[in-house]
Symmetry: C2
Subunit: 210 residues, 2 copies
DNA sequence: TATCTTGTTGTACTGAATATATTTACGGAT
DNA sequence: ATCCGTAAATATATTCAGTACAACAAGATA
């Protein structure tokens, strides 16, 4: 599954017409992250980023739709895989197990070194307006995919609440796992066992004695 | 619980010094909601709101820290109750049951008529940047209260994941319930049974055959 | 060469949010 | 009545994210 040739507009080696790109998401991401470390997120303007990257301000918005998007490059990539994994699950498997497996598969993309920067800098999400917006965008994207999946699997007879509940809880588990994983420091391994653990205590329910 | 005299800086009848308020959150909220209906959220500027309310632009930011806050007045009020309800639960009750009861109690504040406007207009959250930010602010506030509660209840021996998981799942249930409730239209009664149902299928777990 | 396609640039603009100094309106004390 | 402290309201200026659009640059194609 690793080297799947994607429909990614950047990665394709198909014949490109028109003026060749002089920049890329990666270039801008690198420049931005450098500056975020140096001057903080709020202290870094888009002008700073594009100046460091050596392009004009407008170019930034050719690659990102908002300043906060820089943090979510890898997450957005993984999001593209989610639908594929869901579609690949066997139709007989219980919904939550299918979801759990798909999320686990997605978690494979994140190794011990490949921590989304945003998770290690998590506290700033709570204080910076634009980051909150960008974060919720991703939450909604993820949950909507899962909710639609659950809704179709459960069929039209199901109520409105259950698919929502399944989707939201699964994302809860994913986020909780990711945060715990990120704060684990250098001792963290893959994200996968964290997600598996979270999803398990979930499917099992909180009936326990805690 | 209805007419609890709060520590609300507006509702207090304690002797006020200095220039008396000429506006209020409610006045601005009303003006804003009128305009949102007339011209849509994005089509309404803060200048419009304050002009209709008959105050200056700066006054808006005396009552709200951001444009999107207008939608969350009641939600923020209810948030103040949450901590109180949590503290009032018996220390022997299982954590998730305590949380469930507290959230149910908070849900009492929302009758069939008192639907946060934001929920009936939900689709726009997904498309308007500032609203996403304001929404996640509330999510974080709620979850952080629950997480801290769960963490102290479970004691220092507990891991990092479990309190997060409990808090996030509970909020998942609350949000899923609130959305289903809001979309139920005129047939909706109180929010409470929705929350109870959601929290139940949660504590029970998703082990079922779905 | 002419044309089409696509990336990049420059310019102008809207509007949210911040900062700050100033003014207004009240209660309380002298 | 007059001053004083407090808090609300106002006026003004600035920063910066995000949008819109026209013009230009650089390649492929024919």
């Amino acid at each position: 599954m690793s080297p799947t040739p994607e429909a990614d507009p950047e990665a394709t080696t198909q014949v490109r017409r028109g003026r060749p790109r002089v920049s890329s998401r990666d270039v801008l991401e690198d420049a931005a992250c450098e500056l975020f470390i140096e001057k903080g997120y709020a202290g870094t303007t888009i002008d700073h980023i594009t100046q460091r990257a050596g392009v004009s301000r407008g170019t930034f918005f050719n690659y990102f739709t908002a300043k906060g998007d820089v943090f979510w490059v890898h997450v957005d990539d993984s999001l593209a895989h989610l639908s594929a994994h869901l579609a690949a699950t066997s139709p007989e498997a219980p919904v939550m197990h299918a979801i759990s497996e798909a999320l686990t598969a997605v978690a494979q993309d994140f190794g011990p070194r490949k921590v989304p920067w945003i998770l290690t800098q998590y506290p700033i999400i709570g204080s910076v307006h634009e980051l909150q917006a960008s974060a919720l965008t991703r939450l909604i994207s993820y949950t909507e995919i899962l909710r639609a999946f659950a809704a179709t699997r459960l069929g039209p007879a199901a109520d409105d609440l259950t698919p929502r509940l399944m989707a939201y809880s699964a994302i809860s588990a994913l986020v909780a796992a990711a945060q715990t994983w990120a704060t684990a420091g250098s001792s963290r391994g893959s994200l996968v066992p964290y997600v598996e653990s979270a999803m398990a205590s979930f499917i099992r329910g909180f009936n326990g004695e805690n």
